[in-house]
Symmetry: C2
Subunit: 254 residues, 2 copies
């Protein structure tokens, strides 16, 4: 079976200017891996119409799933929805269900808030879009084709994703096993590690130096679909570490 793949588009000048630290990549990477839809590429792009349209059309053809974060609020720089309509060549128009949810939400406020033109933009979507629920702040995300459009605010994005997750068709979840060794340098273990990797091409064996106040070392992480194979790889890596005179400890450093 071929694993499905995912691409994430982070849309927003605020990430590219360094104003905002992205907090969505790590969350989505982890959750998508758990579901068996490994994240294969991320692009951070500005709020520029031509760039959004061209990028969406490129990546939706290349990956099974595309997720976007950012650019679906009420302000002038929130242009994700209209650009995605343009990418799909469909009208950008009021979505009746989104419109109804949002009108009811603003009417419910005490005192009632105005469902004004800016807020109505958040209920304006590509024709044919299916809604992604937003239990935090009502304004929905949406799905069109294989593109899943979510908010950029992490708390809202996470709630949207968790509502969406059961409907995603994942492959085999990616599993992980690790061992680490304090005091070791990568250059000591690299050759032996490469030999192990060469014998297990289906496993992704990574080496990650860590630098901590308590001391430095290297984490060795095997990822793949077959848990028994991961156990064998980590057993070999553990022997390798011990043979070099270091003390292997299961798992990553806490």
């Amino acid at each position: 079976m071929t694993q499905p793949t995912a691409c994430l588009l982070i849309i927003g000048n605020e990430v590219l200017s360094g104003r905002t630290q992205d907090a969505n990549l790590k969350f989505l990477a982890t959750r998508l891996g758990e579901i068996g839809i490994p994240l294969r590429e991320v692009r951070v792009i500005p709020d520029v119409r031509e760039t959004i349209i061209a990028t969406v059309n490129e990546v939706r053809a290349k990956f099974t799933y595309v997720f976007t974060t950012g650019g679906i609020g009420p302000t002038h720089d929130d242009i994700t929805a209209e650009c995605i309509a343009a990418a799909f060549g469909v009208p950008w128009e009021p979505h009746p269900e989104a419109w109804a949810r949002m009108a009811a939400h603003y009417a419910r406020q005490d005192p009632p808030a105005e469902f004004n033109a800016a807020r109505q933009r958040m209920a304006t979507m590509p024709r044919g879009a299916a809604l992604i629920d937003n239990p935090v702040s009502i304004a929905p995300g949406f799905i069109i084709g294989n593109v899943h459009v979510m908010a950029g605010v992490p708390r809202i994005m996470q709630a949207m994703f968790e509502g969406l997750a059961p409907s995603l068709k994942g492959g085999v979840p990616v599993k992980s096993r690790a061992v680490h060794a304090a005091g070791m340098l990568e250059g000591r273990i690299a050759e032996g590690l490469g030999a192990i990797q060469a014998r297990y091409p289906a496993v992704d064996l990574g080496s990650y130096p860590y630098y901590r106040p308590q001391g430095n070392g290297v984490s060795l992480v095997a990822k793949g679909l077959d848990e028994a194979e991961l156990e064998r790889v980590i057993a070999e890596v553990t022997d390798l570490v011990a043979g070099l005179g270091y003390a292997p400890v299961a798992g990553e450093p806490g």
Copy 2:
């Protein structure tokens, strides 16, 4: 004058799997903006040869500067340097100066460490590469064409970048002014904000809701090259906030 542009390639399975939180994007975005080389795109790509080669060749043609982080260590998954050699169509070969620095470094250790085959890979670079100094752990980064290849470990990457920065030809530094209002919602200010943005097309006016234990609100940030124009924009935004009945406070929330 046309501003130079930058693209960042973050190379590494560990970011795409969610194991590692990237810490390089925000640093480089901020520093490049200060130097006047705005970051226009970021891609996170896996340790896959064909992907690295194709991506490097695509973005080096599109942007003034390309920076890469990750994949220049001693292990089997550190394939950035050889892929960049392939992208430029030049041999990947020992770099005499890098080789000399690293051989001397390992000989200096007490007891002397072996400058073994894995470590020699870190001194193997595309022919014609110029070195980027690494004051932290010796193994240099390098420059070839407009591509600047740096380590993934943030402390090392930052030291490499600061050594490199004086040689980069920046444009006009991007400046920023901000005002924020506690308790305000984006949907209240969006229309007026859009009208201000429309009158100042050279300014990038962003609206960023914040959610904090002390209370929610919206930050309004104007970025651009002309400080006097930014002051005018922020003065208009301040009046807009006050006119809506909120208390504008200069700067972003602390």
